[in-house]
């Protein structure tokens, strides 16, 4: 398999998906570092895995569920105290569109 390469534009695209912003110097640095790491990832292509099932979890049994009963509630004020900005018993955030105020 050919070496996986990642371009500066691709790094910028992935940053957008991850809701991160990088300046020019950071983009250069991350492009180099991610390429180095992807080279390590590429070693996996040496291993034949055609008839191998993937493992996504190592739990012994199917995940267990509990009854849908609230057992940790009634702490609205403590939750609001953690919010960077709150008003009228709600968490306050900026508008979705520019220039529409709060």
């Amino acid at each position: 398999m050919a070496e996986t390469t990642i371009t500066r534009d691709e790094v910028a695209h992935v940053a957008g998906l991850a809701k991160l912003a990088f300046n020019d110097a950071e983009l250069d640095q991350f492009t180099t570092q991610l390429s180095d790491i992807l080279n390590i990832f590429d070693t996996l292509s040496e291993v034949g895995t055609d008839n191998v099932d993937p493992t996504y979890s190592v739990t012994e049994t199917v995940n267990h569920l509990r009854d849908d009963v609230a057992d940790n509630w009634g702490q609205k004020q403590e939750l609001l105290d953690n919010a960077p900005l709150a008003a009228a018993g709600l968490i306050k955030v900026p508008a979705i569109l520019d220039g529409e105020g709060e």
Binding site: M1, T4, I6, E10, V11, V14, A15, L17, A18, K19, L20, A21, F22, F30, Q33, L34, D36, I37, I40, F41, D42, T43, L44, S45, E46, V47, T49, V52, D53, P54, T55, Y56, S57, V58, T59, E60, T61, N63, H64, L65, R66, N72, Q75, E78, L79, D81, N82, A83, P84, L85, I91, V93, P94, A95, I96, L97, D98
Partner: protein, 488 residues
């Protein structure tokens, strides 16, 4: 007044509390003094909570019931374990000031046992790193040499125990974050079987790999603490419903007939020959005690690092989406709209290592890369598990070094992510397979501790502890203390 924990194990502390030779309040005060006396050197704690700790100790003394072995005994908690009303940051700027509204299950269990939490220990940001240097807050030092790293990500917990500040601490281990710092600091660190300990209230990094476990100075202490934190929890859908055995049951010192496997890959390229020599001497000691030792092969070991960094970063990139500046912690100023708030908060709130892993994970899960990276890594994970299964058909435990080197200098590797990732080669496969893994001190190279790693079958922590205990009792390395012990 300080307290010298190097002279007392947990059973001894318990006896002194039972016999009223010391009160919980005195022990808590002394522990706070220990930290005040040595944290300038160790930098092990992000925050301490003396008021809450002393209030809890006072209640314990008033009640006067010391039936539980941990009642009245102070503990340090890694700062990614939720503590109700007490700042929990994950060593990240993005959670500065965050006070959880509930206790992690392990914190609740320790609290119910009467253990007294005195503070939150330093770590790599969101447990991402192997030296505790990616912490936003401070650089912890190695208890044996303050110019060296303590390992990571649970470096604060390891340094606090090895440096004698507290008798025990909790950490978390996703790819070696308990075992490697335990090795670097010459103490005992256990990553239990996946599912053995509830992850509820542990800040999620990679949910299929994360486990919480104890740091102690002796194997017996470690088994005692694991008994207190293990068990089913309805809040963690992957917590095992198995009975919790007595983890001390096989601490006899006897390993006659125990079948030990030594993977040749664990002594291959990249392993410091001095470390290899020290670990081989420890294995020879186990053989002299009556265990049988054979060389085996775990052929996919060298692919573990790549598979791990794909799986871990993919899960982490998803788990860390929750940090967006809306509900808690840091929020960036001067934003134009909601999208801008997310992007600026995350870009200013996360450090470089966290961003690197979010980027790797986002990339590995993206449409063009999913099959070649994420799915491929999950298949390699299957092969690594099959390697272990095959060996465990014939052997009781697998042993080798915990880390390829001893602790390196502060600042030496932090700017070289690939070097740091490759150093996880010996601990990573254990998480991918969900196995229990213990690190015990196996002696010293150039004055720095070397770790012996003991890996067991799923849910067979007992045999892992049995092996570690036999070696520890034969070697008596816990009698050797770092210079900082003189401060107590």
């Amino acid at each position: 007044m300080t307290f010298n924990y190097f002279e007392h194990d947990l059973a001894s502390l318990h006896n002194q509390l039972v016999n009223r030779e010391i009160t919980a309040t005195e022990l808590t005060e002394a522990t706070i003094d220990n930290i005040a006396n040595t944290d300038e050197q160790l930098q092990a704690f992000i925050s301490t909570n003396p008021d809450e700790a002393l209030a809890q100790a006072k209640l314990i003394d008033e009640k006067g019931n010391f039936d539980n072995v941990l009642t009245g005994i102070p503990v340090g908690l890694k700062d990614n374990l939720a503590t109700k009303g007490i700042q929990t940051t994950g060593a990240s700027h993005i959670l500065e000031g965050f006070k959880p509204i509930y206790n992690a299950t392990v914190v609740e269990k320790l609290s119910n046992s009467g253990a007294v939490s005195v503070g939150k220990t330093n770590m790599d940001e969101f447990a991402m790193g192997g030296s505790t240097e990616t912490s936003y807050y401070k650089k912890t030092t190695n208890a044996w040499d303050h110019s060296k790293v303590p390992g990571g990500s649970s470096g604060g917990s390891a340094s606090a125990v090895a440096g004698g500040q507290v008798p025990f601490a909790l950490g978390s281990d996703t790819g070696g974050s308990i075992r490697q710092p335990a090795a670097f600091n010459g103490i005992v660190g256990m990553k239990p079987t996946y599912g053995r300990v509830s992850r509820w209230g542990l800040f999620a990094m990679a949910s299929s790999l994360d486990q919480i476990g104890p740091f102690t100075r002796t194997v017996k202490d470690n088994a005692t603490v694991l008994s207190a934190i293990a068990g089913f929890d309805a809040h963690d859908s992957t917590a095992s419903q198995r009975e919790v055995p007595d983890f001390s049951a096989k601490l006899t010192g006897d390993v006659k007939g125990l079948k030990i496997a030594v993977p040749k890959e664990y002594f291959g390229e990249g392993i410091d020959p001095k470390v290899a020599k020290q670990v081989k001497a420890a294995i020879a000691q186990l053989e002299a005690l009556g265990a049988t030792v054979d060389e085996v092969s775990l052929p996919h070991t060298k692919y573990g690092v790549a598979a791990y960094y794909i799986i871990m970063s993919s899960e982490a990139s998803s788990n860390l989406q929750r940090y967006d500046g809306v509900r808690y912690g840091f929020r960036a100023d001067d934003v134009k709209n909601l999208e801008d708030l997310y992007v600026k908060t995350r870009s200013e709130g996360f450090g470089d290592e966290v961003k690197r892993r979010i980027m790797l994970g986002t990339f590995s899960l993206s449409a063009g890369a999913y099959d070649a990276f994420f799915k491929k890594a999950a298949k390699i994970r299957t092969l690594l598990i099959e390697d272990f299964n095959k060996v465990f058909e014939k052997y009781d435990v697998i042993v080798g070094p915990t880390a390829p080197t001893v602790a390196y200098g502060l600042g030496e590797e932090v700017d070289d992510p690939t070097a740091m990732y490759l150093a996880d080669v010996l601990t990573i496969p254990v998480n991918l397979a969900g196995l229990p893994g213990l690190s015990v001190n196996a002696g010293f190279v150039d004055g720095l501790p070397v770790g012996l790693q003991i890996i067991g079958k799923p849910f067979d922590e007992e045999t892992v502890y049995q092996t570690g205990y036999a070696y520890e009792q034969a070697s008596h390395l816990f009698d050797q203390h770092p210079d900082i012990a003189k401060k107590y």
